[in-house]
């Protein structure tokens, strides 16, 4: 650590503070009240994506020269935003954040032509869907050893083949950033690399997927069959998979923080209002301690996420903290999701209350790597 290591501090900057106000209001007004209907309909509210354009999220990290705000890569601010939007609804938050993940990744590791393409395609007055395709179908997926391959051709172009899963927007996306194992003309593995492409290319096909939760989010299975990509479709050589995964782990953990905060806020009121055996059920230790544990574990998780984000922000190695924060998010998220339903008893099992929705959405945390980045 350098001499100039700053002091320990949990106070957001004034700008972060103001951004949070905006995000929280948006989450409370445009997301939370519409989450149930969206889940039942298995689609996003009609005008939701368009409304998110006003938040200007996509413009933040893009250089001014390309039409953006030029704020650069801000992991802390991204993390706070993800937390705040997830507090509204995890599915809707993922929909908003999917294009931002593409933008952040390309601004960090894309060629300048790719950055221009991304800015031209996604920084519009109309919401432009876009997403990262990293995950693959099946029981487990190792990002360092993907099944999808991009075979380099003698002329420098690429042929992309393989299956992807959990891909937001799919055929509706303006741009996809697809990760695959790149293979040189000599047949050597070049490791996991990202390829920027439009889903309309020949050889791309998509099927809608249904999951336990995240129902409003249009998720697709993708099949890439010898999709021909130009030589400049690939991200720069210095793409750092571990760093990318760390940023994604932080972002996924931040989704957990926001969602769990919603659970806590909801059950807190419920157990105070619900009366059984002549008293609010919050007067029972088994109920009260469950709430206390929720709050404690959530606060610990939040600090882990913030620590990882602040390491990333300062350019420190954040891989350990990101890994642990994501792991803890899965554990704490699952527990809080379950306890939320349990605290409401039979009522929690009905779709009259949002706790069952959080129960379902929080299960996704373990498998979301690569959809969002901090």
């Amino acid at each position: 650590m350098s001499e100039s290591a700053p002091m320990f501090d949990l106070t957001p900057t004034e700008e972060e503070f103001m951004t949070r106000e905006v995000m929280r209001r948006f989450a409370a007004e445009e997301m939370a009240p519409k989450a149930r209907a969206a889940d039942e309909a298995a689609s996003l509210p009609d005008d939701f994506l368009q409304k998110t354009v006003e938040l200007g999220l996509n413009f933040m990290p893009v250089p001014e020269a390309l039409g953006g705000v030029g704020a650069g890569h801000q992991p802390i601010s991204n993390t706070l935003t993800i937390e705040d939007l997830a507090q509204g609804d995890m599915s809707m938050a993922l929909a908003v954040l999917a294009p931002l993940a593409v933008i952040n990744t390309v601004m960090k590791w894309g060629t300048s032509a790719q950055q221009t393409r991304v800015a031209d395609t996604l920084l519009l007055d109309q919401f432009a869907p876009a997403a990262i395709a990293l995950l693959e179908p099946g029981l487990s997926c190792d990002p360092a050893n993907l099944s999808a391959t991009a075979q380099q051709q003698p002329d420098g172009t690429w042929h992309l083949s393989g299956k992807k899963s959990l891909l937001p927007f799919g055929p509706e996306a303006q741009l996809l950033l697809v990760f695959a194992k790149a293979v040189s003309t000599a047949g050597e593995s070049l490791g996991t690399r990202g390829f920027l492409l439009a889903p309309s290319l020949a050889g791309c096909s998509f099927t809608r997927e249904q999951y336990m939760g995240l129902r409003p989010l249009p998720l697709y299975a993708a099949n890439f069959s010898d999709v021909a990509l130009p030589a400049d479709a690939v991200l720069r050589d210095d793409f750092d998979l571990e760093q990318f995964l760390s940023l994604s782990r932080i972002a996924t953990a931040a989704l957990a923080v926001g969602t769990c905060q919603s659970v806590l806020d909801y059950v807190k009121d419920y157990v105070n209002e619900r009366v059984a055996f002549g008293e609010p059920i919050s007067h029972r230790q088994s109920v009260a301690f469950m709430v206390a544990d929720m709050a404690t574990e959530l606060e610990g998780l939040r600090l882990m996420v913030y620590r990882a984000a602040s390491q990333a922000e300062q350019g420190l190695d954040c891989s350990r903290m990101a890994y642990l924060a994501h792991r803890q998010a899965v554990k704490v998220g699952m527990k809080i999701g379950t306890d939320g339903v349990q605290l409401l008893g039979g009522h929690g099992f009905t779709r009259e209350h949002p706790v069952e929705l959080w129960y379902r959405n929080l299960r996704a945390l373990a498998i979301l790597t690569g959809l969002v980045v901090a």
């Binding site: 995950l135 029981l139 999951y211 336990m212 088994s286 379950t338 339903v341 373990a366």
Partner: protein, 400 residues
Amino acid sequence: MINLELPKDLQDLTGLMRQFSEGGLRPISRKYDSLEQKELPEELVELGALLKAGRSSSSKKEGASKPEGNRNGNNMRMTVATEAMCWGDVGLFLAMPTIGLGNAAVEAVASDEQKAEWGELFAAMAITEPGCGSDSANIKTTATLDGEEWVLNGEKIFVTDGYRCRQVVVWASLDTTMGKAAIKSFFVPKGTPGMTVTRVEHKLGIRASDTAQIVFENCRVPKANLLGNPEIAKTAEARKKAFGGVMQTFDNTRPIVAAQAVGLARAALDLTLDLLKEQGLTLDYSKNYHQLSAIENDLYGLEADWESARLLVLKAAWMADNRQPNSMNASMSKAKAGRMGNEVSLKCVEICGQLGYSQAELLEKFARDSKIIDIYEGTQQIQQLIIARQILGKNSSELK
């Protein structure tokens, strides 16, 4: 002689019911989870009849077992059958028209004439009210005697099969100032004026089964439709005993509800092990901790908890068959199996990654269905209270 293996007839029953589950329930599991319809899934009519035929032939067998000594009787039989059917599908099991939760209550006390008059039973149990939840003693629905009829007024929620059933067994108080002792159960056929199904719930899981809200407004039933003793106990001790009587039905039903969780968890584990086998992983039950993968370690943990829960359920049912007081053991089985079923099915979702979370497999459905088993028929917390009170010798005003 201590033996915790099932006897031949119960092993056969398991095999038969597993076949029933595999051939009858599993093929329509996803369909009725997605449809979440109010009406009875049509396939269940035939399946229910099949089941009923099987039951009457098997209950004849039981009559033949010797009356003295160790018994593996009706409670164990119900437990084992429930486990095997819920290995198939808990939602469809609950929706099975010939297995109403209220049937047992009716069959225990109704006279032969009543049984003949009331016809084929598919009776739901209506206990919970909007204001009471787990607090069954605090029921606000009233029953007032008017001439030769009881007049029922009140609102019931979370009535399993409430929409589709033919009859409702409803808990109501003869005098809400008298507390537990005044609570009696009443038999109300569907179509009785004044009883209305006002709502069918949309739920996290068990969507093949209907869960209804039923309102009673001056609903009149014959005097004889009060099931059991109509007297309100006078002394505190007698009152306690009387309510204890109503509550004691739980001692028989809790192990059976617990068995639902055992069956469901087994289904989740079996499917998970199948999926893992495709990846080349099988459990050999020999490696030590230092040699295990994380998945193996987690799976062994789940298998162990599953065994623990299953044996607690069998013990509670066995005690009931052998007329041993099993109130604490019934609660232990429900507490352990309830949380185990939820934990196991959720962990299986996690272990199977994208496959676990996807609707392409049934794991996510198991994880949704499982939560209610830790809630209905007395939540985890209620079971813990019952266990603790018994161990510590406390009453409900000391240990609340």
